[in-house]
């Protein structure tokens, strides 16, 4: 069993580094940690970085998960290879570029680029946002799946993910006490469907709604509230069509032993209990 501790970072390719930096700082509200020739490292919490833009094709989308130590990493590589995944060991250079001690790369059954990392760097200085969006940290991702039932098995049986709730056949999965770290989304191809950052209060969600609307950033869903996790949310579109989410108030699963996933119907009120409707953003597709 591959023991995922937490989601660590997202790496996104972009043909336009300047636009990506401008959006990340003046709209999203992250902090520039390091600006390389072909990479931009952005902070959202006490980690050295949680989002990295690299110069290249926007379809290059990778998510990194932290595992305990290098032994665990080697065992994970063996497990994945036994299951027929092509596992690439990260070179020292590549590890340095990710600010981690060691890592391996593979594809999940849908073809998503996944990396498992050991000892991702923390920063000694606290996170200091570029705008007052109230961000407290990078928290979860929506991950495309060409077959949610198959991918649920991968994440829950090969890895340690547990299903917290389901909407239709779409699982919201946790790897720690937080309601979900991976939300699968039915889609025709692999990719990251959204990148979530937590904010301090529901005031921040509403403030950002007006702030981003004024700047003509496309709001694609919300302000709303998920009945599953309880989170108040706002989804909006960034560079290269990537959807970012702010949310606050994600429930924690208090009793790991007795929690049973709840089944929600595949309908709008299962995604937003306030009545907001997605616009310009695909909902996890039931079929």
């Amino acid at each position: 069993m591959i023991e995922l501790k937490d989601v660590s970072y997202v790496r996104l390719g972009t043909p336009d580094m300047a636009s990506a930096e401008s959006f990340a700082t003046s709209c999203l509200g992250l902090q520039v940690a390091e600006r390389g020739k072909k990479a931009l490292y952005l902070r959202s919490d006490d980690r050295q970085h949680t989002l990295c833009y690299t110069e290249g094709d926007p379809s290059n989308q990778t998510v990194g998960f932290e595992v305990e130590d290098e032994d665990c990493l080697q065992q994970a590589a063996a497990t994945l290879e036994r299951l027929g995944h092509c596992v690439q060991g990260g070179s020292a250079d590549d590890a340095a570029r990710r600010k981690v001690r060691a890592f391996i790369a593979f594809e999940d059954p849908s073809g998503n680029h996944i990396e498992l990392v050991v000892r991702p760097e923390r920063s000694g200085r606290r996170f200091f946002a570029s705008r007052d969006a109230g961000i407290t940290g990078f928290s979860h991702i929506g991950l495309n799946s060409t077959d949610p039932a198959r991918d649920e098995k991968f994440w829950t049986e090969v890895c340690n993910a547990r299903v917290s709730d389901r909407i239709g056949d779409i699982p919201l999965m946790r790897v720690n006490a937080i309601h979900h770290t991976i939300a699968l989304v039915r889609a025709p191809h692999a990719g990251i469907q959204h990148v979530n950052h937590q904010v301090q209060t529901s005031d921040d969600v509403l403030r950002s709604f007006y702030f981003l609307s004024e700047r003509r950033v496309p709001i694609v869903f919300g302000p709303g509230r998920h009945p599953t996790s309880g989170a108040r949310f706002l989804y909006f579109k960034g560079p290269d069509g990537m959807v970012f989410e702010y949310s606050v108030g994600v429930n924690e699963i208090e009793d790991e032993a007795t929690h049973r996933p709840r089944q929600f119907g595949f309908e709008p009120t299962s995604f937003c209990m306030w009545g907001s409707k997605p616009a310009g953003m695909a909902l996890p597709n039931d079929q």
Partner: protein, 292 residues
């Protein structure tokens, strides 16, 4: 008000509105805003928002105009208020039996503030034995307060001070008046004409504010401002356009003032003093920092 005595006035207990189109107004109150329609009497349609017998009524104009009801502590408080208002030169008269019946109160002093707004000071407004059961799940828990348009702020302030109200904060010359532990129940807005600007109804949670916001959007009901949060009182609000230009508001989470007194704070008359989230009022100068 002496610290060991009770206050003269205790709550905003009703609003009476004359409606140009009675049935349309009634449909708005029940089907859209989510109040409970209770009685039709003397050509008036009445609604509940809480455990009181009625808090909102619409009349066709023939049976008497608009007024807001302010509940006083008891009948002797009415006498005291009458004395104070007379001394300061505010017109007032005792309500007749039929005036009282129409207001569902035991006694009333019908007064006008400095702008000429009708303010009914009422004793023993009627409560209902049955719990409040609205027509839809808007989450309303009570009539919370009112915003009044003022053409003579100085005189209006004097009027409310005679009743024992105190200014909690200023935004420009907008005065937020408290009569109980909450930041304000009455707000005075400098305006070109007198009248009721809004009637505010408390809802249970932020969820209700947001649900009502989407409910209105879906039905293409005009949202005047919000969802927003008032910085001085921390109250979350959604201002919805009601019949005859009166705003009906959902509110939640107003801060309490606490036992210690502090001086009223002055905020500048700019948009962010009226909403800390960034919502703007459209077409209502009183709410958009547009009136000096």
């Amino acid at each position: 008000m002496k610290p060991d005595s009770h206050p003269l006035v205790v709550s905003v207990c009703y609003i009476r509105l004359s409606a140009r189109e009675l049935q349309a107004s009634a449909r708005f109150a029940a089907d859209i805003f989510g109040l409970q329609r209770v009685a039709e009497q003397n050509g008036e349609i009445a609604f509940r928002s809480d455990n009181r017998f009625r808090t909102v009524s619409f009349s066709n104009g023939a049976s008497g105009g608009s007024s807001i009801g302010i509940e006083v502590w008891d009948e002797p408080a009415l006498d005291e208020i009458e004395k104070r208002l007379n001394k300061s030169g505010f017109a007032s008269s005792r309500a007749s039996a039929s005036d009282c019946e129409r207001r569902y109160v035991q006694a009333a002093l019908l007064a006008k503030d400095g702008s000429g707004n009708s303010v009914d000071l009422v004793a023993r407004p009627t409560q209902s034995g049955r719990r409040y059961f609205p027509s839809r799940d808007a989450g309303i828990t009570q009539l919370h307060g009112v915003g009044m348009q003022s053409t003579d702020l100085e005189r209006d302030l004097q009027f409310w001070k005679e009743l024992g109200a105190e200014v909690s904060d200023w935004v420009g010359d907008i005065a937020y008046l408290r009569i109980d532990r909450l930041h304000h129940r009455i707000a005075l807005y400098p305006a070109k004409q007198r009248g009721l600007l809004y009637a505010a109804f408390e809802v249970e949670t932020l969820d209700n504010i947001m649900q009502n916001s989407y409910f209105m959007q879906e039905r293409q009901i005009k949202i005047v401002q919000g969802p927003g949060r008032q910085p001085c009182s921390k109250q979350i609000f959604l201002h919805v356009e009601g019949p005859d230009g009166i705003i009906f508001s959902y509110v939640n989470g107003m801060s309490e003032m606490g036992p210690g007194h502090r001086p009223a704070r002055q905020f500048p008359l700019v948009l962010e003093s009226l909403c800390e989230w960034g919502s703007e009022a459209k077409d209502v100068p009183e709410l958009s920092a547009g009136v000096s």
